[in-house]
Symmetry: C2
Subunit: 387 residues, 2 copies
């Protein structure tokens, strides 16, 4: 939620509206009196603000709660479909979009193959996939949240630099906003994933790092309850941190980046080399599950190097919640365990002992994260972290 840096009357009202709305959203079912207690606002202010939110259809009454002596209080809630979110994941292989409720439930989805598209074609395809869900939405749309790989200016929705696509200074946000006349927000896919876990996931933490491991490796950082992008939106781009300059060449042109050790591409290259035959990712997963010792050892080594990077991250940020996601997460607990062991071995005990490592339980994490990006910006809604 935006701070009240300029406490004008208008902004004070907007601040109060967001505070009341967030309190009702977070409370699930809550009386006006309880909203006043939680927010510190007066009963009169709360009633005024609630009236406005009801007129806007963002808050509804849902019956009466238990009486505590006097009249049973009217309970308020934010209906799950008071507004609908469009969440978009412009992935390397597939462009997906969905209509999502304010609780992160997907009610309609579209996915189109996108592996071979680039340039104007890829933009057209993105507008196409978004158009399909926008026209299918059966209710008031709040706007569109988009996630894509690469360096993205979240303030204006420009893709500064893509990863697998040649996107450079692409004004994706304004292209989509112009087409659909809706508010649009764009963020990097890993940053969106972190926001998705923070807003719709089960981890209610003030600080949280989500690391997506697939063809690329990058992290999204929630620090003090906010997405942290750094000075130039690139925070979390750990995939091209050099782990060992004497190791293999990376697609970025340097040697021994984290991706050359711990990505899906890295384990496939290493497994193929050791097995003496090319192997697909699905085959690698099948061999891993059958207990193939070569593949298991390759995955273990990849997880260990990732753990070294994660250990450095814990030593720097002292963040206790690390969530791993992405295609590599299919290797499950053995992979997670190796990451955790290596991370703990690398960071100071007093920092790493309490760290909790998990694999994200959310399907469609990036797409839901894109929806969360929209929702937090437009309405300021998210579950309160437990401290």
């Amino acid at each position: 939620m935006r701070g009240l840096l300029r406490a004008t009357v208008h902004e004070a009202r907007e601040h109060n509206e967001r505070l009341v709305l967030a309190t009702i959203y977070d409370g699930g079912q809550i009386s006006r009196a309880e909203v006043a207690r939680t927010t510190g606002l007066t009963r009169t202010t709360v009633s005024d603000v609630v009236d406005g939110l009801q007129r806007a259809g963002l808050v509804a009454t849902i019956g009466r709660g238990p009486s505590t002596g006097g009249k049973a209080p009217i309970l308020l809630s934010v209906p799950d479909r008071a507004r609908l979110l469009v969440g978009v994941d412009l992935g390397d292989r597939v462009f997906s979009a969905a209509v999502v409720t304010l609780r992160g439930e997907i009610i309609h989805r579209v996915a189109l193959p996108a592996e071979q598209t680039d340039g104007e074609d890829s933009v057209r395809l993105a507008l196409d996939v978004i158009g399909k869900v926008v026209s299918a939405a059966n209710g008031p749309l709040l706007g569109i949240g988009i996630a894509a790989p690469g360096l993205i200016d979240t303030t204006d929705g420009t893709v500064i630099q893509g990863v697998t696509r040649s996107w450079r200074q692409l004004p994706l946000g304004s292209l989509v906003a112009d087409r659909f006349s809706l508010p649009v927000y764009v963020a990097n896919d890993s940053q969106a994933a972190a926001l998705g876990e923070h807003v719709f996931g089960s981890v209610r933490a003030l600080n949280l790092v989500v690391i997506k491991v697939g063809v690329g490796i990058s992290a999204g950082l929630i620090l003090n309850g906010q997405l942290f992008g750094g000075d130039g939106f690139g925070a979390g781009e750990i995939g091209h941190t050099v782990m060992d300059p004497s190791a293999e060449r990376c697609r970025c042109g340097r040697w021994g980046c984290l991706e050359t050790f711990a990505s899906t591409g890295a384990i496939l290259a290493r497994s193929s080399e050791l097995l003496g035959r090319p192997i697909t990712f699905d085959e690698a997963v099948a061999e891993f599950e059958r207990g193939n010792s070569v593949v298991r050892s390759v995955v273990h080594d990849a997880a260990t190097v990732l753990g070294v990077a994660v250990g450095g991250l814990i030593g720097l940020l002292h963040v206790r919640r690390i969530v791993l996601a992405g295609p590599m997460a299919v290797f499950g607990d053995p992979w997670l365990g190796a990451v955790q062991t290596a991370a703990r071995a690398r960071a100071l005990g007093v920092l790493a002992d309490d760290t909790v490592f998990t694999i994200s339980k959310m399907d469609d994490l990036v797409m839901l994260g894109a929806s969360a990006l929209l929702m937090t910006h437009e309405l300021g809604l998210q579950l309160r972290p437990s401290m």
Copy 2:
């Protein structure tokens, strides 16, 4: 500055007071009309708040500015000595304390040797050094800010775990507050250094990392204009991140921590070994300046490993301002240059190309940082970062 999470009338007033005070502090000399424009508050609110601040002696009028047609406006400022700060640096070798103005000027200082003290003796010595400056202060004291090495709970001023001293769960903040009946804030020394650079230094950046390199190595992180401590106050404790587990044993019990490569102790051990005789730090500095190739190469190697760690930090946070400080900074530009080269070689170009590396120009950085800790908490004062 604290966000207005609970917008009660009382807190709104306190918020406005802090906003107006910070605007006048930051402006240097500023009229009421300009304060209203900058803050977005009404002229009436600004006048009310300024009256209160004048009665409290925090704001003074300093004559009239140039007329822009009508009556020449009265200019306001925050007098440098409107309140006095006590800043304390409980270092490994020396306990220092000073009376500091609101602009970070030291007007009285005391330093006592503390190398051999521990336990109750060291607490007594700390109270002693603080008492000397408190009684010498010639003006209204705002409170006491304290910095010490180790893991420190900044919310209640408890030293959770010291470094060279055996402090464990030491309620330093409340011991000092009880003795002097003043507000007291305590933070880790590197975190204080970062705040000192942010509040009193020349770098007006929203994100800033200060890395102190001496016997120990640790960083202080200013993220989004705030000191970031992580989930357990340990953010920035990079000195015991393992860089190479096959390397030398560290005092922490593990092998190959950053400190074993890049600290003052590391370069002394390595130089002594290569020179075949024990060498002190002052001798090493003299040999370095004379161009001794052994010492120069040892310092270069130490800087390179530090640069690897800094490269990881940039890759994770995309922070563009890196300030180096502490005893190792005496090796100046050659050392700084080697850190920079190694950091740039390790992080993705698009992230590291714009990063500015400097050595802190502030003497007494930790002590001034402790004063800044007090000032930001009690008055919300700091220079506005340029964006």
